[in-house]
């Protein structure tokens, strides 16, 4: 199982802070697809950065069961 977190505007658009995907291994690219299928209103899933296990990840990076994925829309701290 892969846990996927949403924050800020994405969390509000999804109506939930997280979702789980029962899959052994996949890629960041396919996680975007899965999220868009699950929450069609989450347009930011196409453009937001993705972090895997708390580090920014690229599209082709492998994601495995037990990993934690987070969508990181443009940040606005400071």
């Amino acid at each position: 199982m892969i846990t996927i977190y949403f924050f800020a505007g994405m969390k509000e658009a999804a109506g939930t802070p997280q979702m789980a995907w029962e899959i052994e291994d996949t890629t960041v690219k396919d996680i975007r697809k899965k999220v868009k299928e699950t929450y069609p209103q989450l347009h930011q899933a196409e453009s937001a950065m993705v972090a895997v296990n708390e580090e920014f990840a690229g599209e082709g990076d492998i994601v495995q069961t037990g990993d934690t994925v987070a969508f990181i829309p443009p940040v606005s701290g400071g």
Binding site: F7, E55, F56, P73
Partner: protein
């Protein structure tokens, strides 16, 4: 306890003094402190409050990375950074950065670098509350959309 670290995210009000104390040492001749506060007016629009949200474990890792980047670039600099999350009122302190160095130039540069870097790579988001609504704010650097492969890393 979060305050043991020289980088942390907290829901409590921020006091700059402990962060300054963390970087003061005999080798230092300068301590530059940056304090970011909640601004009431942005382009004429009145903010009544802000809510900050963080992906806390990653945000603290990224603050640690920024500290490391500055201390690698200037081996004699010491850095402490804290960012508050939750609901903040006008003039509340949102971020404190303290940088010490033997001479003033490195402490100014380190401080400037830290705040710009926070706005690039630290997963913290701000929601502005106005009298007539609220909105999550993104991309304060007014850059074009982020590359899907993430922001440039390891820049100094």
């Amino acid at each position: 306890m979060e305050q043991r670290h020289n980088y942390y995210i907290t829901e409590k009000p921020l006091d700059p003094s402990p962060l300054i104390q963390q970087v003061i040492r005999p080798e230092a001749g300068a301590v530059n402190t940056f304090i970011g506060t909640v601004r009431e007016l942005t382009e004429g629009k009145r903010t009544v409050a802000l809510t900050y949200e963080a992906y806390k474990p990653m945000a603290e890792k990224k603050l640690e990375q920024i500290v490391r980047e500055i201390e690698t670039e200037n081996k004699d600099s010491r850095v402490a950074i804290a960012h508050r999350i939750g609901k903040l009122d006008i003039s509340d302190i949102a971020v404190v950065i303290a940088v010490s160095s033997p001479h003033r130039d490195a402490s100014y540069r380190g401080s400037r670098y830290a705040i710009e870097r926070i706005k690039e790579i630290v997963p913290i988001w701000k929601k502005e509350h106005w009298e007539d609504g609220s909105e999550w704010i993104g991309d304060q650097l007014e850059q074009t959309a982020y590359s899907v492969d993430g922001p440039e890393e390891g820049r100094t």
